[in-house]
């Protein structure tokens, strides 16, 4: 049979090698290195803070938030779950994982929400943004671990950068969606009263899109959690490392312990963010109040809100 390969073979792998190794890495390595500075900064501080706060205090804080936004059942689960993690000796690793996830989510929000807003305001921007997000969501996360290692090296920060890339799309998509879906008559009313673009954004669009944005943040959080084990491959620590080490040594017990830790953390974070979303019924909450709630919550450990659509692509 004739196949196109008989006519010509393309050294595609060589081209990519030439592009990444020959051009991107030598020319831009310093830039990429510099890019991880803010990530490292936030991560280290969060990690140090979470490791410094006594286990009982952190647990109490989480249980209190769970009780307030979800109910007593979830508060009890949090207490028992965190106590279990502590008893199997994985508390520090769990806090490191939490710090990594929080850092990723913070950066995703800081990058993703403005991108989403820009996409919502300009169709041209969205035309560019959309395929990029599609690519980010369809490329298996393993695939970009290699270029990330080449550009950023190994360690915690590169792991978080990989996580940010992986977890970014939902927040951008849902911010865009939320803002585009704000009722057009409200936009018209705001215009009719002489709002500037910023006033419109801050007073009308963001508050009315908040619920959708929070759903995006919740999905981003869940995606970040799913990257915990994978990023451990390039030297990020925490529970992912425990799992990987266990697997490497065929130590079923160790791997399972790490896995259970991740699951407990995931359940607690997910339920709390869902509870927050329900509290933030659309139209009932002022922007200031919800953001305050969000900040208060992030300060004490968790993050995000709004789990309408739990599973992302």
């Amino acid at each position: 049979m004739l196949s196109p390969a008989d006519l010509a073979t393309l050294p595609f792998d060589d081209w990519v090698n030439a592009f990444v190794r020959g051009w991107l890495v030598p020319n831009f390595r310093p830039a990429f290195r510099a890019a991880q500075v803010p990530v490292t900064l936030v991560l280290n501080n969060l990690n140090a803070f979470l490791l410094f706060v006594p286990m009982l205090l952190t647990t109490a804080a989480f249980a209190a938030v769970a009780w307030r936004v979800v109910g007593s059942g979830m508060a009890i689960f949090t207490l028992v779950g965190f106590a279990f993690i502590d008893m199997i000796g994985l508390w520090p690793e769990t806090m490191t994982t939490l710090a990594m996830i929080l850092t990723s989510v913070i950066f995703c929000a800081v990058i993703g929400i403005p991108l989403g807003i820009l996409s919502a305001r300009s169709d041209r921007m969205w035309k560019v943004m959309r395929p990029v997000l599609d690519i980010m969501q369809t490329i298996p996360s393993f695939v970009y671990l290699v270029p990330i290692v080449m550009l950023f090296g190994v360690g915690m920060a590169p792991g978080i950068i990989a996580t940010i890339i992986f977890a970014l799309p939902p927040i951008v998509r849902l911010t865009n969606l939320g803002i585009r879906n704000v009722r057009s008559d409200l936009i018209e009313a705001a215009h009719a009263f002489g709002s500037t673009g910023w006033q419109m954004l801050w007073d009308v669009q963001i508050p009315l899109a908040l619920r959708t944005i929070m759903a995006g943040l919740n999905q981003t959080l869940m995606l970040a959690l799913s990257m915990v084990v994978i990023t451990a491959l390039i030297g990020a620590g925490g529970l992912g490392l425990v799992v990987n080490t266990g697997l490497g040594r065929l130590d079923v017990g160790g791997a399972t312990a790490g896995g259970v830790g991740i699951v407990i953390l995931a359940i607690v974070l997910d339920r709390i963010t869902q509870g927050l979303a329900e509290k933030a019924k659309v139209g009932r909450v002022s922007l200031g109040r919800s953001l305050l709630g969000l900040l208060r919550f992030q300060g004490s450990g968790g993050s995000g809100s709004g789990a309408q659509i739990k599973k992302a692509g």
């Binding site: 008559d185 018209e188 009313a189 705001a190 009263f193 002489g194 508050p207």
Partner: protein
């Protein structure tokens, strides 16, 4: 009349090539042909009108006739394809974005059909929105918003959410939001269109009462002719993007410009359009002391009426009927009867501006109705037969298309 707002030869064409479509339109091509050829929709075509200070100008037309497009051009929400829109002499169509924002903040407010209240703010927060946009401090704007809420009678609901209020109340919030910034011009796009008929009537009356003190310049959009006739100082009838007739309610009802308008006005409630003044005759009366019953009877014969008003100096004191005067017989001493003996003091009076429908009952008694001025002086007389005649008059133009051009 000082023109607050003037619209001059305004066109709006939706589509990618408005300039080309505009050219075709000016050369007299039909809208359908233009749509076919270039895909452009003509929203408004060559609209010109002026609205005076303190006037309610109603634009009425069927669905899709371009009313919303027209009113949205007046505050620049939709830029016109061609033409000028002057507010106090400043052209909305060609001014800078900053100027446009200033005009929107200070001069023109808009009230929407579906209220368009911000669901995430309380009633007072909504009302204060325009003030917030202007940069007023929180305490001051709340105080101002509360004052405006008092005006529309919603102060007790200040801290409720809009979704907790009924439609009529929500639209009053919308009205308060429009009024809070103290604009001179109000643009109202079918503001009562989403309300049920009873509430609608009530809101129309409230608007008229408010307008007495506020004296805003109002452009009011509606597809309900009765609403237009009730509210409008002047009315413009719109059809397929064009203003086919502009005039007072009476002008439009008595002299419809074409079949389209005639069909519209065919079944309107004429009792609300015409006033006592429109059908009143000269203020003929006899003097109580100096005129005799015979003189009164002769006057009635001349005027072919059977009753006549009686004045004492300038003061209207009653009326006498032909029948009573004829039935009078000389008294015991042989003196003829006097006007005073036949005087009926329980008689109907009305204000010149009163709509005809308020005269139905009085006309039913068969006696003429006195039209009086502010100082109770007789300025005209309405004959009962004229009331009924006016109510049943057919409009002059044919009404063949009445069925497919009914206001919805």
């Amino acid at each position: 009349m000082q023109a607050k707002l003037s619209v001059r030869n305004v066109y709006k064409i939706f589509g990618d090539t408005p300039a080309a479509a505009l050219e075709r339109l000016r050369q007299g091509e039909s809208k359908a042909a233009i749509l076919e050829a270039s895909g452009a929709t003509v929203g408004v075509q060559d609209a010109s009108f002026e609205v005076g200070e303190g006037e309610i100008f109603v634009v009425m037309g069927l669905s899709g006739s371009g009313k919303s497009t027209l009113v949205r051009m007046l505050n620049g929400l939709i830029p016109p394809s061609s033409g000028e829109i002057l507010i106090d002499g400043e052209d909305i169509a060609s001014c800078s974005p900053q100027t446009l924002r200033r005009i929107r903040r200070e001069k023109v407010a808009m009230i929407f059909q579906h209220f368009a209240l911000f669901p995430h703010w309380t009633v007072v927060g909504n009302v204060a929105y325009g003030l917030k946009v202007k940069g007023m401090g929180a305490a001051e704007r709340r105080a101002r918003a509360m004052e405006t809420l008092e005006q529309v009678g919603l102060a007790p609901w200040a801290d409720s959410l809009p979704s907790d209020l009924s439609g009529g109340m929500q639209q009053r919030v919308g009205l308060a939001r429009g009024l809070a910034t103290g604009p001179q011009i109000l643009l109202m796009d079918e503001p009562f269109g989403a309300l049920d008929p009873l509430i609608r009537r009530q809101m129309q009356e409230e608007l008229l009462i408010l307008q007495k003190t506020l004296k805003k310049t109002i452009v009011f959009i509606t597809h309900d002719l009765n609403e237009a006739l009730l509210l409008g100082d002047r009315i413009a009838i719109m059809k397929d993007g064009q203003l086919v007739q502009t005039g007072t309610a009476q002008e439009i009802v008595t002299a419809p410009a074409d079949d389209y308008v005639a069909a519209f006005v065919a079944d309107i409630d004429r009792g609300r359009v015409f006033t006592a003044e429109d059908i009143s005759g000269p203020p003929t009366a006899v003097q109580l002391h100096s005129d005799t019953p015979d003189q009164a009877r002769r006057l009635m014969e001349d005027a072919d009426s059977h009753a006549l008003h009686v004045v004492d100096g300038e003061r209207l004191v009653g009326l006498v009927t032909y029948k009573d005067l004829t039935a009078q017989s000389p008294d015991a001493m042989g003196r003829p009867g006097t006007l005073r003996q036949a005087l009926i003091t329980d008689f109907a009076t009305t204000d010149g501006n009163a709509p005809l429908h308020t005269l139905y009952t009085d006309a039913g008694s068969g006696l003429p109705i006195a039209v009086t001025d502010g100082r109770k002086r007789l300025v005209g007389v309405v004959q009962p037969r004229d009331v009924l005649a006016q109510l049943s008059t057919e409009t002059q133009a044919p009404t063949t298309e009445a069925t497919d051009a009914q206001p919805r």
